[in-house]
């Protein structure tokens, strides 16, 4: 239970730090050409699993932690 609380607190601190950085390190819209480049791999409209994630989720014991949708893997386990 204590470990759980420490992890939750660490996550909250990281989130607060990131949000705080957002307030003081604002990057203007005109300075975001590099961030919008396709090789930065920002997510597209679909929150379904990518095919690589689909493979890992059928071969490893710890799915979750990334966007994913749906059951039924259409896979050979």
């Amino acid at each position: 239970m204590r470990t759980w609380a420490i992890r939750a607190a660490a996550g909250a601190v990281l989130a607060a730090l990131a949000a705080g950085l957002g307030g003081c390190m604002a990057v203007k819209a005109t300075e975001r050409n590099y961030l919008a480049d396709p090789i930065m791999e920002r997510e597209d409209h679909f929150s379904k699993q990518t095919l690589a994630q689909k493979f890992f989720s059928s071969r490893e014991g710890s799915i979750g932690g990334a966007s994913g949708i749906g059951g039924g893997c259409g896979c050979a386990k």
Binding site: R7, F55, E60, I69, G72, G74, C75
Partner: protein, 382 residues
Amino acid sequence: MSGRDGFVRRAALLLLPVATVTAISPLFAGDGEMGFTNYYFTDSGANKVVTTSFNLARKLLEQTTLLLDIELDHVTVPPITAVTGASRPQRDKSQPFEKSRGQVILGMEQGIGQNLTLSASFYRSQEVDYISSSAVGTASLDMFRKNTTLTLRGQYNADKVGKILESGDVYNQNKFVYTGAADLTQVLSPTTVLDLAYDVVRLKGLLSDPYLQVSVIDSTGGTVLVDELHPDNRTRHAGTARLSQFIPSIRASLIGSYRYYWDTWSVKSHTAELKLNKYITSDLVFSVDYRYYTQTGSWFYQPDYIGSGYTESLYRTVDYKLTPFSSNNFGLSLSYTLRALGAGGGDFEFLENSSIELTYFRYFNTLDFSADIVQFAIKFSI
């Protein structure tokens, strides 16, 4: 099905969507994105999967986008032998087991003002021994002049897990999945983005594989085969941090991520991944990727199950996903933008922001399992 029929079916599954997408793409000309992905998988256990996926994001109004995704899989599992513990029916076990799966996701994304986006999707997946239905809701809020994005997601799944019996009938049992997820994306500089994510997944119902059987040594010293038995509930947690860095001097991006996972079955895992994307020319991108994964086993996994209790109510498993192991995955990818074809205008103008991508993965783990995955994707901006 003969080998030739199987080949023809797989070839049709691969080629038909390409032809369809190419034919209909001018009809959707406007504001949106359309993609087509093909995926071929084979592993050291002689399993084969061919997947074809089509997706469309089409702007209907200024802030309203329609989302559609269709996916078809064809799976071939080899005959059961003494050395395989494949997840497949015992029926006709000397023959390969083949099945198809269809999946549809239909959704709507709605912008509200400048900074809030809401979306809702419905999901349906069907195969002969598995049916899944799901509803997903997502809210995404941009803050601090769009330098910070907070995304919250909730999802409910109601699945029917089937088992094909010797008679050919299918026996179904229920599985329910509840998911909550939060994702915080932070722009740190004109070239750097940090992404932090956490999700929790609660599962209830049939959580074991209905086909897998455990060999139990009973009190007489004899061996008995019994179905797997797992607890009927499980809670999974995962936290992920990802840093994406653009490197202007070499026109490349470096993306590193780390993920920690833990659950109520005592499985814990660490995943680290590093990917480099590099422009070779202004239209050609080369990517190389390495992923390392390691996990512990579940509290009820044992190499041997001895005692008559394991033929009754004691939990038992032969699922290797609940045993300790590590894996390595190497990926190579080439992506080519069709800018030159679209630059001439006319009928091919829609190709200007389109791309094709070829990816190869080599996966191997400490359980002597390996797999090769080839993926081919076409993405159209329409």
